[in-house]
């Protein structure tokens, strides 16, 4: 790489970055993609059997971000001092080619259309006063109809397995009846159902809910995607979540996009390149390129470009904007600025049902995206009027493959001991005969939940860490409690011998020590008003028009669904408008 100037720089080699890099090279641009981590090739890194190693993998973070170089600080309230997230636990960001897209699980949703205009819908149905004080409820500024072609495209690239409900308005399968209409079938039929998921399906149906097969970016059969790259059939090895897939069955940027992209001479991938900031011109209206640290030579490099894509994962996107001075930082006291505003997460709690000693759930069998879910209590699919909260949760059995260290350290559950006498007996019973059901729900945005730069702690390169101010709020706790209450009849209908319900407690504080999800969102949200959003509906910065910020950072609320399907659709949507509109006439695509 000797050119000092290229057409476009893409920061981060995860899902969002790989999609943008592919689209921009297709448009004829020269593209340099900068990735702070290592090169990762499945044939080397993810081979069998050495990748089937829980200790080296999920426990010692083979594919995760190395916090020793950079982390975030976290506090729950504005008056608290934030402390560093020193050990990975609550969320597991990626590092290296593929990003978290290499070690994700593969649950691949579209979006609940009501969620795209949640504020408008809540106000229309329940009135303005229904929105609690301090909640920043907002619309995305884009409709499902506009995004549909890009959801379709992403599914075809990912090789997604699933069962439709309607296609072009006609019933086409036994899929999720709350799912929005589709223009086409899933590229592959739904994944097989493990025993626990099939029990959930019949029990949920008996109770009167509407079970469906989770859409999964795990290939239920051999598949070749539109880029000509191949996936093998998933064998339910159980090593999706936290791992790469030795079968080439789980969609990843590494398997589904990069093999095609790497063949394009206009594309250059530079690894071990940590972007320090996006460089701006004097009046901060245009980006001139980026400064990155070459981690091999320890030298700072300046690279110029006409177009800069920030696609470094949700909170890294916000961090880079703050470090670069793009847009105005959010101030929760004054309620001004937008960068860091509407930082959101997801609620998730797990309930467990134990079956008879004759029923083996074989928890180690599974695929990251496979399972059976209900959407009866997600989004606006039920009447919130008498309940007085906003949001909802899908509920599912998503047996992704439970490994023994995670199971053993998590403990047998219920009231059983976590060590010593009685531990083994209970652990064996739990591992062999139980199953888990998750309520995986929304998290709304609040005025005092946000991201900014930490005043005290810095990364290995001398830059301030990103600070998260985050806590659970009453609205979301009550939502979780309500939905978990709906799990109980399902468990009873399964004929469980005993069960424990996992739910958020009243006043519960966010605990950084327990893995929840890596579904963080917001902080650089999209919208129609530059006073309350960072990027416009095409994910273009309102302030610096040759910067696009792609990722879950664009979500104004944390939704009940897993984010990556939406991230990928937004990436293709933004790329389409860059290709068809922006490149012809660079400048703001929406007038502020």
């Amino acid at each position: 790489m000797c050119a000092k100037k290229v057409d476009a720089i893409v920061i981060g080699a995860g899902w969002a970055g790989s999609i943008l890099a592919k689209e921009l090279t297709e448009a004829g641009l020269s593209v340099v993609m900068l990735e702070r981590g290592d090169e990762r090739a499945t044939a080397v890194e993810g081979d069998y059997p050495s990748s089937i190693d829980e200790l080296r993998g999920a426990i010692r973070h083979r594919l995760f971000q190395n916090l020793s170089q950079s982390t975030v600080t976290i506090r729950n309230t504005l008056d608290q001092e934030a402390l560093p997230y020193r050990r990975l636990a609550a969320f597991l960001p990626g590092e290296g080619v593929g990003g978290a897209g290499l070690h994700w699980s593969g649950v691949h949703f579209r979006v609940a259309p009501d969620d795209l205009a949640l504020r408008t819908n809540v106000v229309a149905r329940y009135g303005k006063n229904f929105i609690p004080e301090g909640m920043n409820l907002q619309d995305y500024g884009v409709t499902y109809e506009e995004l549909e072609p890009f959801f379709d495209k992403a599914e075809k690239v990912f090789g997604t397995s699933g069962e439709p409900y309607t296609i072009k308005g006609k019933i086409a399968g036994n899929g999720n009846r709350f799912a929005p209409d589709r223009s086409d079938v899933f590229p592959l039929p739904a994944m097989g159902e493990v025993y626990s998921a099939s029990l959930f399906r019949s029990a949920a149906a008996n109770v009167g809910y509407h079970p469906y097969a989770l859409p999964a970016a795990n290939a239920s059969a051999q598949y070749t995607n539109p880029y000509g790259v191949q996936m093998g059939p998933c064998n339910f090895c159980g090593y999706c979540s936290g791992y790469d897939c030795y079968m080439y069955s789980k969609a990843s940027p590494n398997v589904n996009i990069l093999p095609a992209l790497r063949q394009d001479p206009k594309f250059t991938l530079i690894t071990k390149a940590h972007v320090l900031k996006v460089n701006l011109d004097a009046d901060k209206k245009k980006a001139t390129g980026v400064s990155y640290l070459d981690l091999r030579t320890k030298k700072q490099v300046e690279l110029d470009a006409d177009l800069v894509i920030i696609s470094a994962f949700q909170f890294h996107n916000v961090h880079l904007m703050l470090l670069s001075g793009i847009g105005q930082p959010y101030d929760p006291q004054q309620n001004t600025g937008t960068v860091g505003r509407n930082f959101v997460y997801q609620t998730i709690t797990t309930s467990r049902a134990w079956l008879s000693p004759k029923q083996y759930t074989n928890l180690f069998v599974g695929a990251g995206g496979a399972g059976v879910a209900i959407d009866d209590f997600n989004s606006m699919n039920f009447d919130h009027g008498p309940l007085g909260f906003v949001g909802g949760s899908p509920v599912w059995v998503n047996q992704a493959g439970v490994k023994p260290i995670a199971a053993a350290t998590g403990g047998p559950g219920g009231k059983a001991p976590t060590w010593g006498e009685g531990y083994k007996e209970a652990m064996v019973d739990t591992y062999r005969h139980s199953l888990t059901i998750d309520a995986h729900g929304s998290n709304m945005a609040y005025r005092d939940v946000y991201l900014d730069l930490d005043p005290t702690y810095s990364n290995a390169y001398g830059q301030p860490l990103l600070r998260m101010t985050f806590n659970w709020k009453d609205n979301d706790i009550r939502m979780n409690q309500y939905v978990v209450g709906k799990i109980e009849p399902i468990i009873k209908a399964m004929g469980a011998t005993k069960y424990s319900l996992g739910m958020l407690k009243d006043g519960e504080v966010f605990d950084t020590r327990r893995y929840q999800t890596t579904h963080l969102g917001g902080g650089a949200i999209m919208g129609t008003d530059p006073k309350t959003s960072c990027v416009n509906r095409y994910l273009q910065s309102w302030d610096v028009s040759n910067v696009f910020v792609i990722g879950a950072s664009a979500f104004p609320q944390g939704m009940g669904y897993n984010p990556t399907g939406m991230v990928a659709a937004l990436a293709y949507w933004a790329a389409y408008h860059i290709r068809t509109t922006y490149l012809k006439n660079p400048g703001p695509m929406v007038q502020a």
């Binding site: 190395n66 916090l67 020193r86 097989g192 180690f364 053993a408």
Partner: protein, 232 residues
Amino acid sequence: MKIPSSTRRNFTAGLLGSASFWMYGGHKVWADALQSESAQSYNPKYFNHEEWLFLNAACARIFPADAHGPDAALLGAPEFIDRQMDTPYGHGELWYMSGPFKEGAPNLGYQLSLPPRDLYRQAIAAANAYVRDHHQGQTFAQLAIPEQIALLKVFEQGKMALGAVPAHTFFEQLRQNTLEGVFSDPLYGGNKGLAGWTLLGFPGARADFMDWVNQKGAPYPFGPVSISGETA
């Protein structure tokens, strides 16, 4: 990658094929076999003699011998922990270890400046000092088993500090690493004879369940295999 010795292969071959064993029957035989294996005992590289005795006793209390099989010490958890101390993990290289180090609310997570190897060194010394003071000069390892259990419970409840380490933090470190030793691939020195996996019914590195996606609740019929090809 460790190649299993021929002795080990014979030993495991002897156990293989016993379906009742896989369903965790007949553990006496197995405990004896493990005992004889661990006779060729491991020499710790990091822990000193007193620390090593502490670790062996503590591991065995956390994951005790019972009707379900041998304890964690017999399964090699202390060896596992000792070997981990000289990895990037043991040196704290996976963690953000820049200051200032301040105490905070427990939900904000680990805030000590100690990597695991230093945490063990300080906390074990402090734990033994505490035992000496309260039990006529004895060390933790010299106490009777019920007393060891009682003490671990005190640590777990975290009402005291062991040097710079809150007792609860130390206990959780110990519990986590002990269970890692029992349930990780034998490559790392624990899970001897794949006994941890056998107990749970985890088939190890088989990682191909194409024919076993849904067998309507039947138990999976094959025993575990390790990364190096060891079976049980």
